[in-house]
């Protein structure tokens, strides 16, 4: 990593931290309660030039993960909206034609348009299963039918980057496409009640005889699986950064609570059992963060980063939720309160972060283990 990129990262980090303080801190609790999509914040993220960082050369991914990590310390839901938008933009930036880039990238970076990724399906993996999205070529068009599930930014998105099997359900023939949300035949199901990350809407997106020009295809049919793997890696990297941001916030708040809470005549922070829990949270967060930075650096260098992203995902699959499980254990009764009781020192409720964490450590499909990719690389 060279000096100029470090300076750039420090600038981004400071800008994201200031944004989190000014704009996220005041609304985070309400956003969790109402789940209303915070459109005004997206415009503000655009003004700060944080909305599609992975499309910037040389330091884009490093800056993106730094931003997500910083925002997630305050409001992981907004980081999730940002990550999905940014990776949709990255898909077009990395794999799109010049015409596609000219048509879409500026809108996604400046917040006029919001991007979403339509990936998961009902079957065990994308391209197999009863509702798999299938595209058929017909008189110069591709016609899509099927259903995508658990699409984040669904409903609020102006643009979907998705994948469909060609001809018939088949995991090997999947091909990327770009579809404006207003295309006839695209419909969004009810917003689902999620455990956490409320405010980042999740819903099914159904495609019924959706007809797109062939110029809407992302890459060639042959490239589909490679593009999908690239996007899943990029998405996972952002989610890992979110997980670590949540973990860092948890350690900070749990440590503050441990210094305040007097039991047995001393702050419980003086007890080894508490120190052990806090030290493990900080250690796991820090080591995972080094892994994220390394994978982001590889991505910025144009090198393959899928295996490294999978390693981080696998690590945080095992230890991510534990960061919050243990932080709440330190706070005890106060940690499990959604609203801190008036008879205790106020601090940010870890309950919300516990719920958010469940949403950042998820796997996309039950058969999709990051370990498979890691093992294959060996």
């Amino acid at each position: 990593m060279n000096i100029s990129s470090t300076e750039n990262l420090q600038r981004i980090q400071a800008s994201a931290a200031a944004f989190a303080d000014e704009f996220l801190e005041p609304i985070a609790i309400d956003l969790d309660r109402t789940g209303n999509f915070p459109r005004a914040l997206v415009a503000e993220l655009a003004r700060q030039q944080l909305l599609s960082l992975p499309t910037e050369k040389n330091t884009g991914f490093s800056a993106h993960v730094e931003t997500l990590q910083t925002l997630s310390q305050v409001c992981p839901a907004v980081a999730s909206i940002l990550n999905n938008n940014a990776i949709a933009a990255y898909a077009i930036f990395k794999w799109g034609t010049d015409a596609q880039k000219n048509a879409h990238l500026a809108g996604l970076a400046e917040g006029q348009n919001i991007g979403a990724l339509a990936l998961s399906e009902n079957g065990p993996a994308i391209g197999i299963g009863p509702d798999a999205l299938v595209g058929v070529f017909s008189s110069g068009k591709i016609v899509l039918n099927g259903k995508k599930i658990f699409v984040r930014n669904a409903g609020v998105a102006d643009l979907y980057v998705g994948f469909a099997s060609i001809g018939a359900p088949d995991a090997m023939s999947i091909t990327g496409f770009i579809a404006p949300a207003e295309t006839p035949g695209i419909s969004v199901g009810a917003i689902q009640l999620t455990m956490g990350l409320r405010g980042c809407p999740v819903a099914d997106v159904t495609f019924k005889n959706v007809s797109l020009d062939q110029t809407s295809l992302l890459g060639t049919v042959k490239d589909g699986p490679a593009i999908l793997a690239d996007l899943l890696g990029a998405l996972a990297l952002g989610e890992a950064a979110q997980t670590i941001g949540i973990g860092k916030a948890a350690a900070k708040h749990a440590a503050a609570a441990a210094r305040h809470r007097i039991q047995f005549g001393h702050p419980i922070a003086s007890l080894q059992a508490i120190q052990q829990l806090l030290a493990e949270i900080a250690t796991d967060s820090h080591l995972a963060w080094l892994g994220v930075c390394h994978a982001a650096q590889l991505a910025d260098d144009g090198a393959p980063f899928g295996v490294e992203a999978s390693m981080v995902k696998s690590f945080l699959g095992r230890f991510g939720q534990k960061l919050l499980t243990d932080a709440i254990q330190v706070e005890g009764g106060m940690g499990i309160c959604e609203v801190v009781p008036p008879h205790f020192q106020g601090t940010l409720p870890l309950a919300r972060l516990f719920r958010d964490m469940a949403g950042t450590t998820l796997l996309d499909a039950p058969g999709d283990f990051p370990e498979v990719l890691v093992a294959a690389s060996l």
Binding site: T325, Q329, G332, P366
Partner: protein
């Protein structure tokens, strides 16, 4: 082979049916609103399940500890928020079973057999893990005692008919100055404060209690003055396995939901890949181990043997297993878990690692027992030389 008696199998079956009819269909809505499940008290009244720990001499069911664990596991399977109401009511009764006289037993047990519940008020803002750090006081008067102080995180507090309240009768004596009292709902000066909005066990009622010049008769004292700490500790020894039972039920529910989802997601495929199979196996191993540690602990209690260390082990292992199994289920189910009741299981399990003595306090209990044992000759040569 079924190691349970015919009677236990019947009771388990009845509990399963009750849970399927009254608890499972209502759990999600009450979790969402956080409203207290009042309907449950009425529904459970005919079966007297809130009186399952009460001796037959007082009109109760007098279930053995193991039989109680079987019922509690079923309730935990349905909803740990609702099951906590039952467990916490039994917890309050345990203090009376340990230290109450005839009159106190009648006073305390009668409401339990009539659709009412009890609460155990020990924790204070300054006294959580440090039970001896309480500031509530009980001053002896000519008429009885006058109590002042506050209690927090009191389960069932907003709805209980009868309470066990701990207060210092001799503040200078530290933990030896704590005494236990029976108090009835509606006693002047005794008010229910804020209800907590919790991450998990959301429909279980958790409140702040204020005690302001509360006057109670001398006959309310449980045992003798200064017996409070002993009564509290013995009560918690008896009560912790109930939480273990709830946790086993919760973990079993998480595994069942996960397996059902696997069948849905991989239709027609008898076995998913080894990675998934091993994770399911690990979940099952944790659940069965937690269940057997609990049943063994209850068998010790049945046999009249000491069980304090086993009680701590059982609560810690079962609630940690519940957290781990629920998290695994979430991970295996992906977004389907994140948008389903598996999220509730995770949130509920998190609270259970904390309440009724944090798992850190339980580990201190176990470690003290381990270190207090006579030294064992571990090296063969030294043993021979001796």
């Amino acid at each position: 082979m079924n190691l349970l008696t015919q009677e236990q199998t019947e009771i388990q079956k009845t509990a399963k049916a009750f849970v399927a009819q009254h608890i499972i269909p209502n759990a999600a809505a009450y979790d969402k609103s956080g409203e207290f499940h009042v309907f449950l008290l009425e529904a459970a009244k005919p079966g007297k399940i809130f009186g399952m720990a009460i001796p037959k001499a007082y009109g109760g069911l007098e279930y053995s500890p193991l039989t109680q664990a079987l019922v509690l596991e079923e309730w935990g399977y349905g909803c740990c928020g609702m099951a906590t109401t039952l467990a916490a009511s039994i917890l309050s009764m345990d203090s009376v079973l340990i230290a109450g006289n005839e009159g106190q037993k009648k006073q305390f047990f009668t409401p339990m057999l009539n659709g009412k519940i009890g609460a155990f008020a020990l924790t204070e803002p300054s006294a959580g893990s440090d039970v001896g750090g309480g500031k509530a006081t009980a001053v002896k008067t000519a008429q009885g005692y006058t109590i002042n102080g506050s209690k927090c995180w009191i389960t069932n507090g907003g709805f209980a008919e009868v309470f066990i309240v701990f207060a210092q009768t001799d503040p200078k004596a530290g933990v030896k100055g704590i005494s236990a009292f029976i108090m009835e709902r509606g006693t002047p000066g005794f008010t229910v404060g804020q209800e907590e909005d919790k991450l998990g066990l959301r429909s279980s009622n958790t409140v702040f209690l204020r005690l302001d010049e509360v006057k109670i008769p001398a006959s309310s004292l449980l045992g003798k003055e200064g017996d409070g700490m002993r009564i509290a500790m013995e009560t918690l020894d008896l009560a912790r396995p109930a939480i273990a039972a709830l946790a086993v039920g919760l973990a079993q529910r998480a595994l069942d939901l996960c397996v059902a989802h696997m069948h849905e997601r991989f239709p027609g495929k008898p076995f998913p890949g080894q990675a998934l199979q091993f994770k399911l196996a690990d979940m099952r191993i944790q659940i069965e181990s937690a269940r057997q540690v609990l049943h063994h602990m209850m068998a010790l209690r049945d046999a009249g043997k000491p069980f304090s260390e086993e009680s701590a082990m059982s609560k810690t292992y079962a609630t940690d297993a519940a957290m781990s199994v629920a998290s695994s289920a979430m991970r295996l189910m992906g977004s389907a878990g994140y948008t389903s009741e598996v999220g509730k299981l995770m949130r509920d399990a998190k609270v259970m690692q904390i309440y009724e003595g944090t798992n850190q306090i339980q580990r201190l209990v176990v470690a003290r027992a381990v270190l207090a044992r006579p030294k064992v000759a571990v090296h063969a040569e030294k043993a021979v030389a001796k």
